[in-house]
Subunit: 195 residues, 2 copies
């Protein structure tokens, strides 16, 4: 399998942590998605992460790739059946936080005359509500085993720190402590963006 990914995508990072921790044979290729016209043949959205199977078929987005990798690995413990819908909803919430932070970042990079202060505020508020919800749900994700919601939480929270602000660690110290501890899993260290 070949995984097209970028150096800072939180969606790609989720998938990268997952295949590493599952021990799956994935050939990860870092690309610049903004100039990756070749990707259209696999994924007309031209988005990362995109997984290419050995037979040439493509799988995306990050949620679908994650489900596929868990299925291939036969690791039901990563998505326990009895918590399936809570975990997938939690992952969707984390994806929404990542998306809000990513969109905000894109908005701040626009030239003068194209930025919207109200859009930036809206996205920051959404991300902040998501992080507060994450803190409120900490009891549901606490633990050490590999699980999709835990991977999503760390990727979302560290992306908030990376692109928006580290303030959430002061506001939610228990969440910060859990994130730091769970973030010591090797897959995170191998995929942490530098700056």
């Amino acid at each position: 399998m070949k995984l097209y990914n970028g150096p800072t995508s939180p969606f790609g990072r989720k998938v990268s942590v997952l295949y590493r921790e599952l021990g799956l044979p994935v050939n990860e290729v870092a690309i610049d998605v903004y100039s990756a016209e070749f990707l259209d043949a696999l994924n007309p959205l031209r988005q990362i992460p995109t997984l290419e199977l050995d037979d040439g078929r493509a799988i995306y987005d990050s949620m679908v790739i994650s489900l596929y990798l868990v299925s291939v690995a036969g690791r039901g413990d990563v998505l326990p059946e009895e918590q399936r819908w809570d975990i997938l909803t939690f992952c969707a919430m984390c994806d929404g936080v990542m998306e809000a932070v990513l969109q905000r970042r894109m908005e701040t990079l626009r030239p003068q005359g194209e930025k919207s202060p109200s859009v930036i505020t809206k996205l920051e508020t959404r991300a902040s509500r998501g992080v507060s919800n994450l803190a409120a749900q900490l009891h549901r994700i606490e633990g050490n085993g590999l699980r999709l919601d835990r991977i999503a939480a760390v990727c979302a929270l560290e992306y908030v720190s990376f692109r928006l602000s580290d303030d959430w660690r002061t506001l939610h110290p228990s969440l910060a402590a859990w994130c730091e501890a769970y973030g010591r899993i090797p897959g995170f260290a191998a995929t942490r963006p530098n700056s």
Copy 2:
């Protein structure tokens, strides 16, 4: 189950068509998501569709809700196991087309001094590539039975017509013919936005 939805959301429409065709007892509530502060308690992203279960738990986003409804209905034929990853990837592609058209719409509604012509072009190009890919994959979705990819395709294509342009019907007449035929399923008629 209670489904919070809006009158024009293509993501909400996918879910609405699905529960109707599955014959599931869902109480659908139309809300104005832009002022729906109450929704934060269920979904801190404040996005529709959001499904509230009878025990108060929330399920989102539209992909997760769709998987949940198929599971509850016990209708494996709506997502056949042997085509599972192709179908879910196809659905993610349709979601990406809807998202591009929605984001473009939001961009065009911005006040002068906050619009980005290059963002609008990028989103239109992405949507167009998605529709071309849909046309190229028509042989894979053709048919009459209820299936997640077929629902997603009609919702995406009709949303392109609704918010962007109807030109794709001329460019891709076979796709247009299939979409019109499959779109006669009652669930689509009951959920088609007026204007």
